[in-house]
Amino acid sequence: MTLPALLIQLVNGLASASSLFLLAAGLTLIFGVSRIVNFAHGSLYMLGAYIGYSAVAHFGATIAGYWLAILAAALATGLIGASIEILLLRRIYRAPELLQLIATFGVVLIVEDIALALWGPEDLLGRRAPGLSGVIVFAGRVLPQYDALLMVVGPLVLLVLWWLIRRTRWGTMVRAASENRELTQALGIDQAWLFTGVFFLGAFLAGLAGALELPRESAHLGMDLAVIAEAFVVTVVGGLGSIPGAFVAAILIGLTRAVCIGLGSVELAGVVVALPRLTLVTEFVVMAIVLAVRPYGLLGSAPPTPATTAIPEHRTLVRAPGRASAVAVIVVFALAALLPLVGDEYDLVLATDVLVFALFAASLQLILGGGGLASFGHAAYFGLGAYAAALAAKHGAPMALAVALAPAAAMLAAFLFGWFCVRLSGIYLAMLTLAFAQIVWSIAFQWDSVTGGSNGLVGVWPPDWLAGKQTYFYLALAVALLALVLIAWLAQTPFGYALRAGRDSRLRAEASGIDVRSTQWRAFAAAGAFAGLAGGLYGFSKGSISPETLAIPRSVDALVMVLLGGLNAPAGPLVGSIAFIGLQDTLSRATEYWRAGLGVTILLLVLVFPMGIGGVVQRIAARLGR
């Protein structure tokens, strides 16, 4: 690659970096103030693009009309964002932080279906920006004028935001609120409207990013999920809450990707590496490296360590489950064992799914509830288990061995990744788990000769004597029962107590001689093993395995189940799994708009049961027992 060629690729990268920055700036702004991980940011971006498309189609023939239309789209998106904050998020600020993530996930599902209903399924390619549809000749090569404009818009927005945050009274209040909410409130600043304002601005930026993308790309369904992971990555690489950080991170990622494409296939030590294929995960590789070196991102700083946990429920003592709980477990599983007598074959399939996902969710709950370690990439261990079992079976291993390999392989990976992850905390930890999961996903997705690439592996069936739905259900029931009891038992061992101590007050735990990091690391590995076991069971129940088992939506499913069930309720994973799978199954049969239906139900559940369904049950039980 020649120097001018490299140069023009860097310029291309800058244009992409600019739109990436606009997207991430809003996200980091919202997070910095409200601590909300806004999953719906991608949906706002998509809405910006769609609204922009419609506005431009009507008024965009002239230069003034075009830019007014873009601005109107951004404003409309901002208003939508503000109403989401007022109607939804404001009601759950007191709930565990991650619950807000689930609420915004519900919004994602709803917006997807609304966009489909309003704009139809076809891609909508908007008109080019009038006056900017040509090219600039640059270093003997051409650059679209619009890309040049984007390169200016990015830094311009950065400057405006910097001025807004650093130089205005409103900005001062925002900064105060992001540093100390209680104190800000005590000073008489109305936090609710401050948050709404920040949400408006963040959503405005998302809408602007979406609308500005129109001359480069069609408005289409699926834009939301295509960008959301990327936006998170940029935010985290830059340092959460740091807008200049997001700018630097966007440039870093934009440039890396452009250079990967520009260099093409290169020969390294005799091996040809197709760098463009790496673009599937460039941003995640960058993030993993940055977080390994700088745990709080490029320009982020360590958040102050609170003396104790911020979540009130965590301050109550965990009591060992008594005889009543044991009886309850026996009754529930005995009833479940009767299912084949009353249900049809499909009930058994559903019930097997419920059990597998209950185990998967329980493995996440072990570290999320017990350890306070949020994993956004838990599907990695589920999927690795599934792949390990499937590969073993494909190479002739008996099913027992294949299923046994599943937790082993997943635990090994969890050991490796966990070592890096437990060095971080909070959302940084969560994002590093996500990065590892995406890297594993991209390997499974592209390693055709071993993993079957994007198709995955088929023909992973249990032996004939186990293949019946009923037999397999009993197998799943037995394994899930054992594993769930084991997980509950772990919570009562000194290890479980140490894990919770580290979660509730790291300093005090360390002072009393607990090696918090090592405890968390072991918990991570144990969680990985259980997730892997669930994955192994899953693969054999479906007969095939594909990269989807490793992908982000699978991780989100587990999070939703844990939070629906209750972060710390022992029965939570089972309750969450029943609720989630039951809902998905019922709704997808009842209506074409089942995604929106699922989203609305999730929102209602979150609003009614902010502590999760299991949490409420637990509280009632505690009250009755008193």
Binding site: T2, A5, I8, Q9, N12, G13, A15, E112, L116, P121, D123, L125, R128, G134, V135, R141, V142, P144, D147, P215, R216, E217, S218, G222, R257, A258, I261, G262, A274, P276, R277, T279, L280, D344, E345, Y346, V349, D353, F445, Q446, G453, S454, N455, G456, V458, G459, K469, Y538, K542, G543, S544, S546, P547, E548, T549, P553, D585, S588, E592, R595
Partner: protein, 398 residues
């Protein structure tokens, strides 16, 4: 009585009249990624509905009406297998039909093998579903990635270009198209042909850098398997930066209305594509389909409409011939079965269960502000299949 209510009543009456007193309906269990690929699958669903209506109006199959039971597979193989289970166990579907992506198609095909259920994979393009991973119970309607690539190769050979750039979405369909193109070109054109490849993440192509890299690679011609949003981005950036000036481009699927229509007047003129020029086909079987479709939906058919319509017709024909819904009898009936589709008669080969449905190959042009295919011809699928010996060597023995 309001007009709307009257209309409703008329519909009800029509529904009652059009389904004469028949026996228990025969259920087609249709599963697809409706929410993941709506642009293709909404017209697909309409096509199915039209076919079912026509069949039932003519008295159904075996004296029983056909009934569609439609499920969303959520775009992933795990959910698809669960839904397939539901269709068989609870809905008592006689056959399984549908699927879009290769991964889902292959998983359901293997499930069908395991459960000994009849499965017609309508859309998945993967070569493996009938060849490397083919099985007794699975049939496939659409021409595969290999076949559609082979349909474009004669044009590519005629261009006598030496240095080809290949750009593809980074998943099975794209890699398979790339591999097939290289293999066929090397076999057909000996004179020192060379290839440069660029993969782009599906749905997330970074069009600026990709186009620039292609320009810097200085190819004589381009072969692309991009579609949907990626295609639109690629076309815009490429036109802007002059990538397509003096360079012929071949693009799989780009003539399908689903992907061509969003481009409107920016449809890249002169590209060699496979697709579906519904506006220009004059065969009687297509005209009949087109009229019926437009009358029912007040919309024009897309490629998906033809696939959905033909898939239902295929299943109905198989059941009629087998005089049964027993899976093994259906398989036997389907082998060598001829089915009348809007593209003419197609035959499901006994050898590998692939239908001989073809695709239209032509060049893109812009007419009245819309992209259209011109100079097209119908490429019969039967002419673009690998040799029987190759198939026998690669398809697992039963």
């Amino acid at each position: 009585m309001t007009a709307r209510f009257r209309g409703f009543l008329a519909l009800v009456v029509a529904a009652i009249v059009s389904v004469p007193a028949l026996g228990q309906p025969i259920r087609i269990g249709e599963l697809n990624s409706y929410k993941t690929f709506p642009a293709f699958l909404e017209p697909y669903r309409k096509g199915m509905e039209l076919a079912v209506e026509e069949i039932n109006r003519a008295g159904g199959v075996l004296g029983r009406p056909l009934e569609l039971v439609v499920r969303d597979d959520n775009g992933n193989p795990g959910d698809a297998v669960r839904v397939a289970e539901e269709l068989l166990a609870r809905e008592k579907a006689a056959v399984l039909m549908g699927t879009f992506s290769s991964a889902v198609g292959l998983a359901v095909a293997d499930f069908a093998r395991q459960r000994k259920a009849f499965f017609l994979a309508a859309e998945p393009l993967t070569d493996k579903i009938v060849w490397e991973d083919g099985n007794k119970y699975t049939f496939r309607l659409r021409p595969s990635t290999y076949m559609q690539t082979a349909m474009l190769v004669p044009d590519a050979v005629r261009l006598t270009k030496r240095r080809w750039a290949i750009v593809y979405p980074n998943y099975e369909y794209g890699t398979a198209a790339t591999a097939a193109f290289k293999q066929l070109m090397i076999a057909r054109q000996q004179s020192g042909i060379e290839f440069v490849e660029i993969a782009a993440p599906l749905g997330k192509i970074d069009a600026g850098p990709v186009v620039q890299a292609l320009i810097d690679a200085k190819p004589d011609a381009i072969f692309s398997s991009l579609f949907a949003g990626d295609l639109a981005k690629f076309v815009r950036e490429g036109e802007l930066r002059g990538l397509f000036r003096d360079r012929p481009v071949l693009n799989l699927l780009a003539g399908e209305p689903e992907y061509l229509d969003p481009l409107k007047d920016e449809a890249p003129v002169g590209w060699y594509v496979t697709g579906y020029p519904w506006y220009a086909i004059t065969t009687p079987e297509h005209k009949r389909f087109l009229d019926a479709y437009q009358a029912k939906f007040n919309d024009y058919p897309r490629q998906g409409s033809v696939v959905g319509y033909s898939a239902v017709k295929s299943v109905a024909a198989a059941i009629a011939k087998a005089k049964s819904t027993d899976p093994d009898k259906l398989v036997a009936a389907m082998q060598g079965l001829g089915v009348d589709t809007p593209f003419g008669k197609v035959i499901y080969r006994a050898l590998d269960h692939q239908s001989t449905m073809g695709a239209f190959v032509g060049r893109l042009a812009v007419k009245d502000g819309k992209g259209v295919m011109v100079d097209w011809k119908y490429a019969n699928g039967a002419d673009y299949l690998p040799s029987d010996d190759w198939v026998r060597a690669h398809r697992p023995k039963e």
